[in-house]
């Protein structure tokens, strides 16, 4: 909090744009170094590789050279990501295959750099856009470095596009009271989501998932629904804090979540969940693979491949891959039945059924996402859907679940009604400061005793 306060104070005192940007760059690297200074070098390498690739692409029209530059950028960036994040995963998987032959392959002790998935994708999007001539490469290394390392979104997104952010860096941003208010408001909402909801639900979901075999069906559902709430509030909470902080500094990021649990189809869900990642996958993976332009079957395959790789992006484990594939199949099913378009104009009962079907898929998917293994996921699903033994086991309906999930459900439900702006506090209302400060007090009063790291820090 002190870090943010000092940064904000500097920005409000110093008006010179260059000075501000340099300060933000230093602050961002300090922010990253606070975790582990050794990986600032990695951040710098990825920044430099993509910046130089962009410069090279700007200076040549030769197709072969341009392709080579793009390949260099892809290999370096994805290579780094692959090594740090997936080396041991692939080694372990290979080891499992060759173990019956008596072979043994050693893994390495590799630290996963925080945020590597995010800033790698972010810088790659720049190079690809420059290659496609959709974006003009920048000559300013410091601007580009700031774009890659900007601390509010460095470690857990959103994955900001260069075309959105670089133009904002060109001119001094006016820091108005309105921006400060909007930023503070969004930051507070994010803090509430993270500390009051996500961290409390985490206590429930962690305990249930760690001791899955003991509980009855009801408690298992409580644990899974708690995780469903936790992951949304944790991630969107962080995003809100990131977007709010950036806004207060004068920079605008796009929304990353749009009440995803109101979606009536899986397709709509992915339009509302982690929007920056799903659009990145769409623009840089799905469409280059052919998108929906190569026939129905190829479309389904493209969707499946995109989602499998999206699952793998989240973590180096087969459960994440399965989760991605599971959603890929659900998307293919949506596409096959044209659910997305049909439910847009359908009557309420059908849309409700669509919502229930989507929530079921999402919730089942989270079981795989959260579980440490397929065995654990299977145990969980068995407990959830075994009607014969549903009441067998320890019964625990946690208070945190009873309070937090209805609050979350309410905020989601209200977003699809005409009262959706009810929760958007306006600056000119007398009660706005009262409510915001009361929320901050609630965060202080009800913060859990143990600090729960943001889930998406591990990606």
């Amino acid at each position: 909090m002190l870090f943010i306060a000092v940064t904000m104070a500097f920005l409000y005192v110093v008006r010179n744009n260059r000075a501000r940007k340099l300060f933000l760059l230093v602050a961002s690297y300090y922010f990253y170094a606070y975790w582990d200074w050794r990986f600032c070098g990695l951040l710098l390498i990825i920044t430099a590789v993509n910046f130089l690739a962009g410069l090279g692409l700007k200076r040549t029209d030769h197709r072969g050279k341009r392709t080579a530059l793009l390949v260099v950028s892809l290999v370096c960036s994805l290579g780094m990501l692959g090594f740090f994040k997936y080396f041991n995963f692939f080694v372990d998987s290979f080891q499992a295959m060759v173990a019956p032959l008596g072979l043994h392959v050693h893994t390495l002790r590799i630290i996963l750099p925080v945020g590597i998935s995010f800033y790698t994708f972010q810088s790659l999007s720049y190079t690809i856009d420059v290659y496609r001539r959709q974006l003009k490469a920048t000559d300013d290394f410091w601007d580009f470095a700031l774009f890659v390392s900007f601390f509010p979104q460095l470690v857990a997104g959103p994955i900001v596009r260069a075309s959105d952010f670089l133009p904002q860096l060109e001119s001094a941003r006016s820091l108005t009271r309105s921006r400060l208010f909007l930023g503070f408001r969004q930051f507070t909402y994010g803090l509430v989501k993270k500390v009051l909801i996500a961290d409390h639900l985490a206590m429930v979901s962690d305990f249930v998932f760690q001791n899955m075999g003991v509980f009855d069906g009801w408690t298992t559902w409580v644990g899974v629904l708690s995780y469903t709430g936790q992951i949304y509030c944790d991630f969107s909470g962080y995003t809100d804090m990131a977007i709010g902080t950036a806004r207060a500094m004068g920079y605008d990021f796009c929304k990353n979540f749009d009440h995803p649990y109101t979606a009536t189809t899986v397709t709509t869900f992915w339009h509302k969940w982690h929007i920056s990642l799903s659009t990145w996958l769409r623009d840089y993976l799905y469409i280059p693979l052919g998108g929906n332009r190569k026939g129905r079957v190829r479309t389904y395959v493209n969707q499946l491949v995109t989602m499998v790789l999206g699952g793998l992006w989240h973590g180096a484990a087969w459960t994440f891959v399965f989760w991605g594939g599971f959603h890929g199949l659900a998307l293919a099913f949506d596409k096959r039945l044209n659910l997305h378009k049909r439910l847009k104009t359908a009557a309420l009962p059908w849309r409700f059924l669509g919502w229930a079907h989507t929530m079921l898929i999402v919730v089942v998917g989270w079981v795989f996402f959260r579980s440490q293994s397929f065995q654990a996921a299977w145990t969980c699903l068995t407990k959830m859907f075994d009607v014969v033994h549903f009441n067998e086991g320890v019964h625990w309906i946690a208070l945190q679940f009873l309070v937090c999930v209805p609050v979350l459900a309410f905020t989601h439900a209200i977003s699809v009604t005409r009262w959706k702006n009810l929760l958007a506090l306006r600056a000119n209302r007398w009660y706005t400061p009262v409510i915001l400060f009361a929320l901050v007090w609630l965060v202080l009063l009800f913060q859990p005793k143990e600090f729960a790291p943001f889930i998406y820090f591990q990606f």
Binding site: M1, F3, I4, F31, Y32, Y34, W35, D36, V114, F151, V155, R177, L191, K194, V195, F207, Q210, N211, M212, G213, V214, D216, M241, E392, G393, V394, H395, W396, I397, A398, L399, Q400, L402, W430, Y431, T432, P433, V434, I435, L436, F437, A438, V440, W441, L442, V443, L444, L445, Q447, K449, E450, F451, A452, P453, F454, F457, Q458
Partner: protein, 348 residues
């Protein structure tokens, strides 16, 4: 300027609002300390904030805790001693152990009435010092029942002669007064200072850190010395306990922290069983009656898949006794006194 004033006012109003709501959940009780010269408890001038849901077994004006109304000459009294467990932390007074015991006794036709002398953090050495006070003031005392865990029988770096009497949290006569009404009636400055303290500590403690923060680890299991190291202390403790009881019956009841959910299964074994068994052995040698509630709790969990510890806002099996736990202990104590109307002979 107008905007600044609006926001400052907003902060003040929000603080007052939160404080006002907080007073509904926090009550103040006065602290009293035993004064040897006066021979009674006197007000220390300090007050404690007791959170809603915390048990505070109330005091009468004469300093007797854990009973309301006068003593009847037709009744026999059983005094339950303990810490926050017996103080019925998070359990309503009407569901607490001592009320349950009295109801059970009445239902079965026994003229027994339970008195609960308990406060958070106390152990057996505290009870020893308090015993003469209650012994002299409670008529027809049938038995002292002391509920203990292994932590309550450890030396704790303090000898039996030190720190004679603990400070008592002196709550009003009726537990109902711990709720909203006195909060509205009284000016709860204590709560306001607590909020300010919370703000001071929380802004340092609440860190939306740049990097991944280490998750705080839960309390590790305490390392105990071997039972043999404690035996001399236990013999002294029990000797002093018996002496301070002045010939009145003493029954110790061991309450373990089990069953618990650990590593994906229900663990029925008590982590501290070895130490507890060693202490109970010394009790038997000294002729002090002792009961072990391990099996009582385990049977309850096996039968119902529920736990005698824990609430909806805690993990099952962890924390203080819930209503079921209080009921089980009351029933066990009652049944024991029915089955053994006289003290057991040593080594029985």
């Amino acid at each position: 300027m107008r905007v600044l004033v609006l926001w400052v006012l907003g902060l003040v109003i929000a603080t007052l609002l939160v404080w006002a709501v907080g007073t509904a959940g926090i009550s103040e009780v006065s602290n009293r300390q035993w004064n040897e010269l006066v021979g009674d408890y006197i007000v220390t001038g300090r007050r404690s904030a007791v959170g809603e849901g915390r048990g505070t077994v109330c005091f009468r004006d004469d300093g007797i805790q854990g009973v309301s109304g006068p003593f009847s000459p037709d009744e026999q009294h059983v005094v339950f001693w303990g810490d926050s467990f017996v103080e019925s932390f998070n359990v309503g007074d009407e569901k607490s152990l001592y009320r349950r015991f009295t109801e059970l006794a009445r239902a079965e036709g026994y003229p027994w009435r339970a008195v609960a002398v308990a406060q958070s953090g106390r152990d057996i050495s505290h009870h020893i010092h308090l015993m003469p006070f209650y012994r002299e003031r409670i008529p027809n005392l049938k038995a002292h029942v002391l509920l203990f865990s292994v932590w309550d029988v450890l030396p704790n770096g303090r000898t039996l002669l030190e720190d004679a009497r603990p400070v008592c949290r002196w709550a009003p006569r009726r537990p109902g007064l711990l709720r909203l009404r006195p909060a509205i009636q009284a000016y709860r400055l204590q709560t306001f200072w607590e909020l300010l303290n919370l703000m001071k500590t929380s802004f340092g403690g609440l860190r939306v850190r740049p990097g991944p923060a280490g998750t705080a680890t839960g309390q590790g299991d305490q390392e105990f010395e071997s039972a043999d190291a404690y035996r001399p202390f236990w013999r002294e403790l029990l000797k002093e306990l018996t002496a301070q009881a002045g010939g009145q019956r003493v029954v110790l009841m061991y309450h373990p922290r089990c069953p618990q959910i650990k590593r994906g299964r229900i663990v029925y074994a008590d982590d501290n069983a070895r130490l507890a068994q060693a202490f109970m052995q010394v009790c038997a040698e000294q002729g002090v009656e002792v009961l072990d509630l391990t099996r009582t709790f385990a049977d309850y969990t096996r039968r119902t898949s529920r736990f005698a510890h824990g609430f909806s806002d805690t993990f099952p099996g962890k924390g203080h006794w819930n209503e079921a736990g209080h009921r089980l202990i009351a029933k066990t104590a009652f049944q024991y006194l029915v089955d053994h109307p006289q003290p057991k002979a040593p080594q029985e």
